[in-house]
Assembly symmetry: C3
């Protein structure tokens, strides 16, 4: 499971970079806390971070349980697709909110496989 732990921690590192980009955008576009609106480009960075947060809550437990019940190697490979999908999501969304679709798909698809695979593995072990 070490390789699964490495992928999980890399996903958290990627998320911290996204959060730092929001902090930088707050300064660049002069959006003073506690506001989270006020400049469209700031809002894009903010939504990328929020969306990544929303997905990490599903990604991390699903990654872990898929790795535990089915295969650590496949869990890590699917996790690597998620890491890449998030980079494409960030780049697409900041360029134009309509261009976030491919990165979104490449983030959500591996999560669905990890979640449903983990559920199948846990059910098989429980019954």
């Amino acid at each position: 499971m070490e390789i699964v732990a490495v992928v999980a921690l890399l996903a958290l590192l990627e998320y911290i970079v996204f959060a730092a980009l929001v902090g930088r955008a707050r300064g660049l576009y002069q959006v003073a806390a506690p506001a989270v609106t006020g400049h469209p480009v700031f809002e894009r960075y903010f939504r990328v971070q929020q969306n990544t947060l929303e997905l990490l809550v599903v990604f991390l437990p699903s990654l872990w349980l898929f790795g535990h019940y089915l295969s650590p190697t496949w869990a890590a490979l699917l996790g690597a697709v998620f890491l890449l999908g998030r980079v494409l999501y960030l780049r697409g969304y900041v360029a134009d909110p309509k261009r976030r679709e491919i990165g979104f798909g490449l983030s959500v698809l591996p999560i669905l496989v990890l979640l449903l695979g983990g559920l199948w593995g846990a059910l098989r072990a429980a019954l």
Copy 2:
């Protein structure tokens, strides 16, 4: 702990359904990204998803540690109450924000029992 894993993954599946309902509401009520306000019914679906995210971060570790230190069966039963509470919360909130109270209580109560029970179990094992 397989039954605890199943309940955890079902909670994540339920959350994904809530997130998909936000996406659908975005289209129906024409709230273009990155905005998250603009139509009251969209905002209700969005707040249901956000509130579920806020609770899942407490629910999942508490469920796991309660199951580990006290009882997997009771953890799974309390988790099932949470799953039901979230459905009632969604239905109440979308109908009228003031009618979200029962579903909220049925989501938060099992979390508090899981959290405090897990804390007691971990303290007992530590001392």
Copy 3:
């Protein structure tokens, strides 16, 4: 790892207190759901809770994996710094958003140590 579990659950308890303070501020400053803006002091409490949510998603897995691969005792000590940092962050932010910096640093620094330490430990175990 019992001591790590205790710190993790105390962090969740602290977060629930922050969430309850948002609920109280909603009543005090008359911000009716689903709105999350409308009064600056309400918004500060809300942002404290949201920021804590954003950090917990990184804190909890990093705490756990640092404890697993390196040292449960050091994980628990770094976690205690995070717990304290969050209290300072709350007090500073509510008084004046510009005074949230010290508490923010004391929350983020232990997380970075836990994350990078955990990553190093997992890589060392994997190779």
